[in-house]
């Protein structure tokens, strides 16, 4: 029991210290991450943090796996903001808010939604979606000019 507590504390400490909430697993074409006003070229294995914005080019696509095993992927010409991500790997409680500004998004919800439905929300310019599980896609066309 004592070891379990120590292990749990270590896992928790590691999670909050690293502050990566997800990881880019695959990508093709032009993909970058906007973080703290900087534009970083994305690569497989790169960590994703809360407040990151993922952007794909006209030929781009990207897939990200999050700590709770939520899977998100973007098609071309897409912009997705990770507004909020928190996950407790012991209780599986958490909150995941993301905003699709434009483009296409595919979602496979993970452990936090299994634990508490609608702990994951996806916003678009005109709606909020509460996710009760598990797989769906969303598309936001660029506004006509």
């Amino acid at each position: 029991m004592r070891w379990l507590v120590i292990l749990a504390a270590a896992v928790f400490a590691a999670a909050s210290y690293a502050s990566d909430v997800g990881q880019i697993k695959n990508l093709s074409g032009a993909v970058h991450v906007e973080r703290d006003g900087q534009r970083l070229a994305a690569a497989p294995g790169m960590g994703v943090k809360q407040a990151d914005v993922l952007v794909t080019g006209a030929d781009g696509s990207v897939g990200v796996t999050f700590l709770d095993n939520s899977l998100l992927s973007l098609g071309p010409s897409s912009t997705l903001a990770i507004d909020r991500y928190a996950f407790d790997s012991i209780t599986h409680d958490g909150q995941f808010d993301a905003s699709l500004k434009r483009g296409t998004l595919a979602v496979v919800s993970g452990r936090m939604v299994k634990r508490s439905p609608e702990s994951m929300r996806v916003r678009t310019p005109s709606a909020i979606m509460g996710v009760r599980g598990t797989e769906f896609v969303v598309k936001v066309d660029e506004p006509a000019r």
Binding site: G63, R132, E135, K139, V140
Partner: protein, 209 residues
């Protein structure tokens, strides 16, 4: 690659089970208007379709049928999207979904860090599967049965985990991507009295994502 095949297989199977509904007579005005926002719920790998609740401009729409779609803010109700429409609108996003997280169990010869013959084959299949993941994260947890002392079993469980980790390293997977730990005899799959030589408990769990 696996994910892509799985999705294609899913689409093919779903197609056979539920042939797309014949196209509804398109309203004259809607046909020309571009879809601004669209959400579609999909059946998952286990065939179960989940639920998405869409709140827009004070209206709540619940999507819970396979391929149920809602044109957000345009139509109040839901409509079944055809697979052609799904593929043409979402093909690239769908084929970029990362490989599903997976778990494996490998079993050991009693008192050793040697895999059983069956598990050696399973390890090879697992290594093959890992090659298809460009950036895998691997958690390896070793366990023992209840023969021997607890401290000895702690050591043996870690040794088993490290042994499996070494197989991944030999495949060129970066060391920082693989964590190995041992849990001794604390977490048996089959509950037994102390001293019992239960093969199902002599194992290493591998979680990949």
């Amino acid at each position: 690659m696996v994910a892509v095949l799985a999705i294609i297989a899913l689409i093919v199977v779903a197609h056979q089970l539920h042939p797309p509904a014949p196209p509804a007579p398109a309203p004259v005005t809607a046909a020309a208007a571009p879809v601004d926002e669209l959400v579609v719920v999909l059946p998952s790998a286990d065939g179960h379709t989940g639920t998405v609740v869409v709140d827009s401009q004070g209206t709540r729409t619940v999507l819970n049928q396979p391929y149920a779609s809602n044109r957000i803010g345009r139509d109040a109700g839901t409509m079944r999207l055809s697979l052609q429409e799904l593929r043409s609108a979402f093909g690239a996003a769908l084929s970029s979904i990362p490989a599903r997280p997976a778990s494996f169990l490998l079993y050991f010869i009693t008192g050793t860090d040697q895999l059983t013959e069956e598990s050696r084959g399973e390890l090879d299949r697992m290594l093959e599967e890992l090659r298809r993941r460009p950036a895998p994260d691997i958690l390896v947890i070793g366990h023992t049965d209840r023969v021997g002392s607890e401290p000895d079993n702690d050591r043996l469980s870690l040794q088993r985990a490290e042994r499996v980790r070494a197989s991944f390293l030999a495949q060129g997977i970066a060391p920082e991507r693989i964590q190995a730990s041992g849990r001794g005899e604390r977490e048996p799959i089959v509950q037994t009295a102390d001293g019992v030589d239960e093969p199902k408990n002599r194992r290493v769990e591998i979680n990949v994502r």
